[in-house]
């Protein structure tokens, strides 16, 4: 049995990657607190949540997909398409948000469903299917319009600018609450439902899962649908944040999402990982951006450099952990 012994408590090996990410987050926060004036406040962490709520929601969907051993490259484009559809429907025909948002969520889920069906029914690599989905969704944005469309719907903007005050002058946006609800529901589903456990089993060994009588095909289709839904919801949250729809929103964001999930300790080969890790992964990415903005002199491209380095370290760590637990 691989366990890490800390004092008298021992932690099962499966929690190690999450623990590493958690320690990293705490360490980064402490370094920031020592280096910069006014960094070590609760609001800094809440701001990370506020600025990355959409990323968190997308990462939840991606976690489902990666746990089955798949990948979804279409998420960034689906986000862009969602912002575009929302903005154009509210600007042009003047649809109210309570019609637009459900429609956008349905479109996102539908796209995911179709991709999942293709992956399962024709037994095609998810990489290539979702790559096609990525081009398709991005292309569809430009059939709506090539320019940025501002969102001026009063209900929508009012909701977007709502501040929910917490104690001690700290506040969050409604998006954060939505994201945390999504995380909580997803964590429950993964842990306490048969579907959730099928996700892990499928990622562990698809062949075995089939022979054990699990609904592998249905599971795979469902995770892509979930990812599509989460991307669309992420798109709605991004619309709150940007108050515009634009075909160039969220370019390359699928890679940020994958990076967050991997840094959160989920194995790309599937079958191992936790949602808590994904949350921590998103927080680490967000904190890197915060630190670089506090540094002031560094260009924002340094974010990419740090994410790149972190990814290297984490995939090497994953290798180490899986080699150790196989023994």
């Amino acid at each position: 049995m691989t366990t890490l012994t800390l004092g008298r408590a021992s932690i099962p090996a499966k929690y190690l990657p999450v623990l590493v990410t958690g320690c990293l987050f705490v360490a980064m926060f402490m370094v920031g607190g020592i280096r910069y004036e006014g960094f070590a406040t609760g609001q800094i962490i809440l701001n990370v949540f506020i600025d990355n709520a959409f990323l968190l929601v997308m990462a939840v969907g991606m976690t489902f997909v990666i746990l089955t051993g798949g990948i979804d490259l279409s998420v960034g484009s689906v986000v862009a398409l969602s912002t575009m559809i929302s903005a154009s429907l509210m600007a042009g025909p003047g649809w109210p948000p309570y019609l637009v948002v459900p429609l956008v969520l349905a479109i996102g889920s539908g796209l995911g469903l179709v991709m999942g069906y293709i992956v399962h029914a024709f037994d095609i690599q998810p990489f290539i299917v979702t790559l096609a989905g990525m081009f398709l969704a991005r292309g569809l944005c430009y059939t709506i319009g090539t320019d940025s469309i501002p969102i001026e719907d009063p209900t929508f903007t009012a909701f977007a600018q709502t501040r929910i005050d917490l104690f001690a002058d700290m506040w969050i946006s409604p998006s954060v609450i939505i994201a945390l609800v999504v995380v909580a529901v997803a964590a429950y589903v993964l842990r306490y439902t048969r579907f959730g456990r099928s996700v892990y089993a499928t990622g562990g060994s698809e062949q075995s899962a089939l022979l054990m009588g699990l609904p592998v095909g249905r599971t795979k289709i469902t995770v892509y649908t979930i990812s599509g839904f989460c991307s669309a919801l992420g798109g709605v949250l991004l619309s709150f944040y940007m108050l515009s729809g634009y075909g160039l929103h969220a370019v390359g964001m699928e890679l940020d999402v994958i990076a967050a999930v991997v840094i959160g300790g989920t194995l790309l080969t599937g079958g191992s990982g936790f949602l808590l890790g994904t949350v921590l992964g998103v927080l680490v990415l967000g904190l890197i951006q915060t630190i670089i903005s506090f540094e002031g002199t560094l260009s924002s491209w340094w974010t990419k450099i740090f994410i790149g380095l972190l990814l290297f370290v984490f995939i090497l760590l994953q290798r180490l952990f899986s080699a150790r637990s196989r023994r």
Partner: protein, 537 residues
Amino acid sequence: MATEPASRSEAINTERGDMAVPAPVLTMGGIGKQFPGVKALDGVDLRLLPGEVHALMGENGAGKSTLIKVLTGVYPADAGTIELGGAPVAFGSPLEAQQAGISTVYQEVNLCTNLSVAENIFIGREPRRFGRIDWKRMRARAKKLLSRLELSLDVSAPLSTYSLAIQQMVAIARAIDVEARVLILDEPTSSLDAGEVEQLFRVMRRLKEEGIAILFVSHFLDQIYEISDRMTILRNGTLVGEYLTRELSQVQLVAKMIGQELAALERLHGEAKVFDRPLIEARELGRTGAIEPFSMTIHEGEVVGLAGLLGSGRTEIARLLFGADHAGSGEIVVSGSVTSLRTPRAAMGHKIAFCSENRKADGLIPDLTVRENIILALQATRGWTRPVPREQQDELVGKYIKALKISPPNPEHLVRNLSGGNQQKVLLARWLILEPRLLILDEPTRGIDVGAKTEIQRLVAELSDGGMAVLFISAELEEVLRLSHKVGVLRDRRLVAELPNDDSLTTDVLMETIASGASQMNASEASNVDASGGRAS
């Protein structure tokens, strides 16, 4: 292979009428199954009695797998009836069979090693409370179920932390949780070592006491004789008969399986040969953590057997001699001059060939044809810029297909579609084409049927008569004895003895040499070898 088709009358003649036989749990009668161009099963009967281990015997291709697949609903039967507990049944899928109480555990453990032990037992039918999975109850039930198998595991630990043998037990636990009346074990022991097999057998005996009927398939005759009460023998898709295990000797069994008396079961080397031309000599050769320094000389035309338990250092010796691993100490002398075999390529330059133990992972490429697989090593020695002419390929490949009786004799057949024995022959052919002076065979007969086994053994004897030196590694001591001129015995990564194979050397002596000082050897294994040795003589 069979000389005459099995007759129905022989089946009737066999022991069937003993008085104490309880009503069968399962009866299959007159089962027939036709595949395009092949009659896979023809009029096969099988009955399983409660509380008995029933061995299903036959060579590869005799129809064992097909019969199991018909029984468990993978294939529909073309003819015949299946009765479970007296009522006729026909299953549409393995799941239906399982729900009716017929569970199957396959050779490869079909579980998810990333999930916990408890989950692997219950996934798909987890106990739930208010719609959510009740983890506490699941763990408790898993613990209880495993204690029925005399196992005490941490059920919340991932399955990957346990050995293959334990994983197999967990698969059995999963199978019997569904109120199994019939448990089918299809080659469960082929990747287990002796201690693990013993553990499995303990579990099987316990289940037997509970009244479960067990259908057991294995290539290891010793195991069949240790665990089974009754056996049904198939040959070429037809029934040979049903026998009580204690009333059928191993030689009779083999004869019935292949349909002819087996002269080959006797020792293959009759007269003593004199070996005076050393081919390869290891002097204090060793590698830390793999094998203690050892010395050994292999002469031209000599077959040297290596005996020892799994993990005792047999394969490690082979890898050192082939240059697949670097020696930490000592030297290798080939034909009188000290050589460093730093890579397999260097070893191949000295005409040393190595047939690895794991033919699927290390040796054969399943998606290439028989011809391409055979030609591979020859091509590698020539370099990729000088392709072997197609005519020469066809000629060589044809020659070896014929010599080794590779079936089907079609050089363009994909290797993945060949049976285990024939795949092994393809691997052998690949190395024989290089005309090696030393051929290292690591478990060449594992998992292949008796007929192919005998052919490979005969081939080894012929090759050594022709002057080739052979290093023969096998877990089956009788096989090592039958073939070798001398036997090196390994224990705990140390070469403990080098015994000349004369009349005084028996499997018992080998067992003792392996066991002396090694505390893991338990009495039942020794008696197992005893018993089988006694039967074969």
